[in-house]
């Protein structure tokens, strides 16, 4: 248990957060538009092995046959997929021996974002694979990880250095045919991260990647693949911020996680893509497919997310509980303000015997936003004695927003147990008054109460992320009262 002093220091050491600026840096941008040639060109530029090009082409051809999904509780103007540039990479692609060689403007961006790429990282014990737009430029701590046999690199690099692993696992959890956006990603993904933790290894540090959309009108198609072999453990952090832009930007990432026997993967996200202005103009469309498979017995995959950004969020980090006694967890805080729309939740697909899952979702709706929880719990026939517990709470601030809950519960055997509870409430006046009587203004009071509401989930985040997340919540709450 944390001591009081730990808690205090954690609270007090939070960094300043800033967003909404643009770094001037030279970019390689493919002309707008999507065709088989674009796909080939991406693969060629990245000098990919043949099997990857084939994967992309299959995905592209399949994508052409699909229609954009319409079932989510979100509304947005039609996306012109031909009006998007599918590849943007910083010009300097050479590998650096030290940070000194990195484009100073890029480093400045990270600094503004509060990403301590330098030795502070060592102190914090975090290795960073920083993705600037699409191509990974700097990877630190590789050596330290290498000693343990952990592979943590950009996806492109992994495709060259470990093609057998990529070939084995890419698309094994989220096949290219999975859905519209996954197919699109599979065809045109630019880069991302690859993590491989070999048998019996406990990854010695939290792995973190910061994504950032920078180029105007450039779709961002990240691809992340995490594999934990038998008995391995890894905690992966993903955080995003995006600078202010006028046009809608599409983000369609795919994350795949594989956990073998007794392995554990913890995936934490703080997502703060640009949500658009007060009237909903601009902002990121975040259509993400995240899925893990607990392939082995006693394996565990845990998703924790704090979603404050994006104009539209469409995201359901899921776990396929294939292994007996496997465990899936989903902890989520989603805040929407102004005209943001979020449709997020999870799927827990129980196949293995005695598999267990827990879902805790906290939705906060402010302004004229709409916040939906959508989740599925399926207990297959084979999943004897499987258990699920779900708790979905919504908090409404103001009466022009919406909070929605759409759980799907499907049970196919008699020994499974599923419990789902959901509540909707608003912040009580007397709570605000109590805080005000202690000297906090209304906005601070609301922010404090909302943080309390989300605490159960925030507590699941690694410490440095929890602090960032609290700040984000406070920023998102700004202008929500009065």
């Amino acid at each position: 248990m944390k001591t009081e002093d730990d808690i205090m220091i954690e609270d007090l050491s939070s960094k300043e957060y800033e967003a909404g600026f643009v770094t001037e840096i030279e970019m390689d941008i493919l002309p707008k538009g999507l065709s088989e040639d674009t796909v080939r060109e991406i693969s060629r530029l990245k000098k990919e092995p043949e099997f990857l090009l084939e994967f992309r082409l299959k995905a592209y051809r399949h994508w052409l046959t699909l229609k954009e999904p319409k079932w989510a509780h979100v509304h947005y103007p039609a996306i012109d997929y031909q009006d998007i540039s599918y590849f943007a990479a910083p010009k300097k692609q050479a590998k650096y021996n030290s940070l000194d060689e990195v484009d100073p403007a890029l480093l400045e961006t990270y600094k503004k974002l509060g990403i301590p790429l330098e030795e502070q990282k060592l102190l914090a014990g975090v290795a960073v694979d920083a993705v600037f737009d699409s191509v990974s430029v700097v990877t630190t701590f590789k050596e330290a990880l290498k000693e343990k046999g952990v592979i943590f690199s950009s996806f492109s690099e992994a495709a060259h250095e470990h093609p057998e692993l990529i070939r084995k696992y890419l698309g094994s959890v989220v096949p290219y045919s999975d859905n519209y956006f996954a197919a699109l990603n599979s065809a045109v993904f630019s880069d991302g991260s690859f993590v491989f933790v070999p048998k019996g290894v406990r990854c010695p540090m939290e792995l973190s990647t910061y994504f950032r959309i920078n180029a105007s009108n450039t779709g961002q198609f990240e691809r992340t693949l995490i594999v934990a072999e038998e008995g391995a453990y890894v905690s992966y952090l993903e955080g995003c911020t995006a600078p202010q832009r006028d046009e809608n930007q599409l983000h369609a990432a795919v994350v795949e996680i594989v956990a073998l026997d007794n392995a554990e993967v913890k995936y934490s996200t703080v997502q703060n893509w640009y949500p658009g202005d007060k009237d909903g103009k601009g902002g990121i469309y975040n259509f993400v497919t995240k899925r893990g498979i607990c392939k082995g017995h006693h394996s565990k995959i845990s998703w924790t997310q704090v979603e404050t950004g994006s104009a539209i969020t469409w995201k359901y980090p899921s776990v396929i509980l294939r292994g007996d006694y496997s465990v899936g967890e989903f902890y989520s805080v989603a805040v929407t303000n102004h005209r943001q729309q979020a449709d997020t939740g999870t799927k827990m697909i129980h196949i293995g015997k005695h598999s267990r899952s827990t879902i805790v979702s906290k939705g906060i709706s402010i302004g004229q936003s709409n916040n939906s929880y959508r989740g599925q719990v399926k207990i297959a026939k084979s999943a004897e004695h499987a258990r699920n517990f779900s708790q979905c709470d919504s908090l409404l601030v103001g009466n022009r927003c919406g909070a929605h809950t759409f759980p799907y519960i499907d049970i196919e055997n008699s020994t499974g147990t599923v419990e789902h509870e959901a509540t909707t409430s608003k912040i009580a006046e007397d709570q605000i008054f109590y805080c005000q009587q202690r000297g906090l203004d209304q906005e601070q009071a609301v922010s404090l109460i909302v943080n309390g509401f989300a605490k159960e989930v925030l507590n699941k985040l690694p410490m440095e992320f929890a602090v960032e997340a609290q700040k984000l919540l406070a920023i998102t709450m700004e202008g929500s009262v009065g």
Binding site: D5, F433, C435, R438, D441, I449, G452, K455
Partner: protein, 246 residues
């Protein structure tokens, strides 16, 4: 410290305060007594700025400023503290975080720099001792799962943290056993200086054995109908309120 002139206030259509006058000077302890429904808690709420109540007439000057013009949080930062009769639970918000935010707001208002983590911890430790508070309490959510006694102690602890100029204790004795009452009163007494003042709102004389008032006022039907020294409280204890009200 505070001057209340002809204060009238209503909730909905119901007038509760009907022209109340009171002056409290620095260094004084005033007790406001009265039967249920006389308007005691309304007075506390109106002074603290609860929005449910509408002030229809009168003025309140607090340390030279117009109190009624201020938002509830401004009143707090100006040095007015209300110990709630029913402290509110705020799930998920730890006492530490809560107090940190409050102390920060107060210090900012006074133009003081934010306390370092170390200083703040030291301050919390010091003040907790004042009310004999369990150290674990500060890791729990604000008032959540607190017993009646813990809640009241917690109010006095917060008062100690914020060092108000004027503290209003609204039925702080209700629901306390005699030991808890003594601890709470003890804390209040230790916080007393020549520069601050206290208004104790209570139904029973019992609390006043421990927090000895300089003045006692009887509130009835929205007005102060009788004022006197501490002996008035004893008289009320003996005779009840009826002799005053008829």
């Amino acid at each position: 410290m505070i001057t209340i002139k002809n204060l009238k206030a209503k909730i909905g259509d119901k007038e509760i305060l009907k022209g109340l006058n009171l002056e409290v000077k620095a260094g004084e302890v005033h007790a406001i007594m009265g039967p249920n429904g006389s308007g005691k808690s309304t007075l506390a709420s109106v002074l603290a700025g609860r929005e449910d109540y509408e002030v229809t007439e009168g003025e309140v000057e607090f340390l030279g400023k117009d109190l009624l013009e201020m938002e509830a949080d401004e009143r707090s930062r100006e040095g007015l503290f209300l110990a709630f009769q029913y402290p509110v639970e705020i799930p998920g918000v730890s006492m530490t975080n809560f107090m940190k935010a409050a102390v920060k707001a107060h210090r900012e208002h006074k133009g003081l720099p934010e306390l370092t983590a170390k200083e703040f911890l030291a301050l919390m430790k010091e003040k907790k001792q004042l009310v004999n508070m369990d150290t674990q309490l500060s890791q729990r959510s604000v008032n959540e799962g607190f017993s009646g006694g813990e809640k009241k102690k917690n109010e006095v602890y917060q008062m100690a943290m914020l060092e108000p100029k004027l503290a209003i204790l609204d039925e702080t004795d209700s629901g306390l056993d005699i030991d808890a009452l003594r601890v709470v009163a003890d804390g209040v007494n230790k916080l007393k200086t020549k520069d601050n003042a206290t208004i104790v709102i209570t139904h029973y004389q019992r609390l006043l054995d421990y927090i000895v008032p300089d003045f006692v006022h009887v509130l009835h039907n929205g007005r102060i109908v009788k004022s006197g020294g501490k002996e008035l409280a004893l008289e009320l204890e003996e005779k009840g309120y009826d002799w005053l009200l008829n």
